[in-house]
Amino acid sequence: METVFLCEDSMEGIFTGVYDGWASKKGHANIKLELKQCNTFRLFAEYINVKTDAQKARKVSDTVKNKMGEEALIHIMRAALAVDDEKADAIYRTIVVGLALKYKGKVMDCLSNPGVLKVFKLSRTVFYEADHMKGFIRFKELQNGVYFAKIAPKSHLLPIISPHFADRLPNENWMIYDENRGLFSIHAKQKEWVLVEDEQINIDTINKISENEERIQELWKCFFHTVSIKERENYNLQRKNLPIRFRENVLEFNN
């Protein structure tokens, strides 16, 4: 009979699922990993609720890194941040394939395995979205000196983009709010960034912008409009490069 491990939709949740599935010794073919919220119960299957455990997750990520290489770990971690009902199982399959390979660091070449292919595709999707977001995020300076940005990404991007901004703006207090997930990443000057769950966002604070803010925004909009060459106008190309769904929080596209 098939055994389904139901994991929490988070990197730690999925990695714990991989650990428990493996430890159950039921044979990889008889195991399936599913996410808790998208599971549909089937009659002839046994269900096991996975309790997320940071230590188990840690062991899995260490093993992946040591045995399969850092690149594989990065792909798998990115895939875990994607929005996809079957990602947990694809990650499990990829790790099964990877640990059976003789050569370290080659698992992502085995694209003929459906699990690996899925992880590869999800990782690519998340990577592209994060890459876009690194460019399209807009901070505004609040009255209290905090630089604040709001995003609405499909994938869970905060763990990927926050390190980027922590490196870039180490001396600022900044905050990125993922409104789809109700999550914040918060960075205090000269400190590490942290992920915080919806604390009650204080609308008042967020709407109070600094004295200089509006002027800088106007300067930016002015630049944005003059830098385009009229004779080359091409709104289709613009839409292709900056899809509408990204524009909601991009200053120059909102008046």
Partner: protein, 456 residues
């Protein structure tokens, strides 16, 4: 506007001269408008983590922060320091004989804009070019002062691309190079004759001189860095240049030959091509009723890509007899059609260099093929997963000795099939229409007979 002016002066205490009373907003409008024809906007080529103290870092692939209405990437704050100019280049809005509104920034104003835009994640950094104010040295000095302030007063570690002003003193250019990530000198026009015709104050020699200077600076810096790891880096993202396409009568072959020799002899990182936009009237300038030659520019970029990443030579792509690119096919596809004796190639055996030459196989797919075929013999299904565009590649490849369908390896036959398989979009950039293509065709490529006959 008044409010803005007083505010900016209160807060940032610019050393304003009387002449500089123009509000910052207005200056920005003038000086970004004047800079927009420079096409180099990439922030790529250097990877630099923040040092934890200053502000900013660099990502080697570059980051686009927005896209303007013309669909181009906005990555850097692209501005001129001043649009005053003592020269009289005929294609340029800023030429001395043209009657336009003039403005000049102060170094502090440029810093203010850069820092405030950067902190809000509008930009990756600064692209600073300039008209020639008073003299090349005077202008270069101002540029240097600006980025010196950015780097040392504001501790800015983001991307900086500056122009080296031809004719400026050697040491000034060298000093600037230690602060900038990329430097460029514009070639302006592909040939010396073109330059003579349209830019009477410039000549090839004065342009190539600073280019050589920067190249030598980069080379000797590399030697230094192998000895002293902590030696300051000179123009780490390398040197680029740009030329204007379609203002003078050079053909594509001439342009590609120039580009190739720039890559070979000056170690340039990038050559940019800028479709000429007629912004001023002059009897020496062509009128372009079909708009700027965008498809041509696009083909040049494709061919440039082939030179840099696909190991092609300009002479393989074009010749004296066929000096211009095909309107219908990209340069690589066109090459394949003219060299059918090379094909079909066996996917499981062909060398990397040969795989690179197959239409429909990009360099990433080629790399993946090389890796994947170590584990298993690849079939067409695998190729699809890898990302090969089979509807183009299928005429040129075999998998395990078999072609995907029975096809003839014959130019006319493949051409017809490829054309049918192409949707209109892949003709060129985004949404160029048939009409634009045919216009372009008669206008620039009148001599390219193969392109025309394919149409019928």
């Amino acid at each position: 506007m008044n409010l803005i002016e007083t505010k900016s002066q209160n807060i940032f205490n610019c050393q304003t001269e009387t002449k500089n009373k123009m509000p910052l907003m207005e200056k920005l409008a003038v000086l970004s408008d004047a800079a927009k024809y420079d096409v180099a906007c990439t922030s790529s080529g250097v990877e630099r983590k923040g040092d934890g103290k200053g502000i900013g870092n660099c990502v080697s692939s570059g980051i686009c922060h927005s896209f303007s209405a013309d669909g181009r990437c906005i990555s850097l704050l692209k501005i001129l320091f001043t649009n005053e100019c003592i020269y009289d280049c005929k294609y340029c809005l800023n030429r001395v004989s043209n009657d336009v509104k003039r403005a000049s920034f102060t170094p502090d104003e440029v810093c203010e804009l850069t820092m405030n835009f950067y902190k809000r994640n509008y930009i990756e950094g600064l692209f600073l070019s300039s008209g020639i104010l008073k003299s090349p040295d005077y202008t270069m000095e101002l540029i240097y002062e600006t980025i010196f302030k950015l780097r040392t007063v504001h501790h800015f570690q983001g991307y900086i691309h500056v122009k080296a002003i031809p004719g400026a003193e050697k040491t000034l250019v060298a000093k600037t190079g230690f602060l900038a990530d990329r430097m460029s000198v514009n070639l302006e026009l592909p040939t010396a004759e073109g330059l003579k015709q349209l830019a009477p104050n410039k000549n090839r020699k004065t342009i190539l001189k600073p280019m050589r200077l920067i190249q030598n600076g980069i080379t000797s810096n590399k030697d230094e860095l192998t000895v002293y790891k902590s030696a300051p880096r000179f123009v780490p993202a390398g040197q680029s240049t740009q030329m204007i396409i379609g203002a003078t009568p050079e053909n594509d072959f001439q342009i590609m030959t120039v580009a190739q020799s720039l890559y070979q002899n000056f170690d340039l990182k990038r050559v940019f091509y800028s479709a000429f936009v007629p912004v001023t009237e002059d009897k020496n300038l062509p009128s372009l009723p079909g708009g700027p030659p965008l498809l041509r520019e696009h083909r040049l970029y494709q061919a440039d890509w082939l030179l840099r990443f696909y190991k092609f030579k300009a002479e393989e792509l074009l010749s004296e007899e066929t000096p211009n690119f095909n309107v219908l096919f990209d340069p690589k596809c066109n090459w394949a059609l003219k060299n059918l004796d090379v094909f079909p190639v066996e996917i499981n055996k062909a060398s990397y260099d040969i795989l690179l030459r197959v239409p429909g196989i990009g360099y990433q797919s080629a790399r993946r093929i090389m890796k994947a075929r170590k584990f298993a013999k690849l079939n067409f299904e695998d190729l699809k997963k890898i990302g090969v565009v089979l509807k183009r590649a299928l005429y040129f490849i075999t998998c395990n000795g078999k072609m995907m369908y029975a096809t003839k390896i014959e130019e006319d036959y493949i051409t017809r099939n490829l054309l049918e398989a192409m949707d209109k979009k892949s003709y060129g950039i985004g949404d160029i229409t048939y009409k634009q293509i045919s216009l372009f065709d008669t206008q620039i490529q009148g001599g390219c007979s193969s392109g025309n006959s394919l149409f019928m």
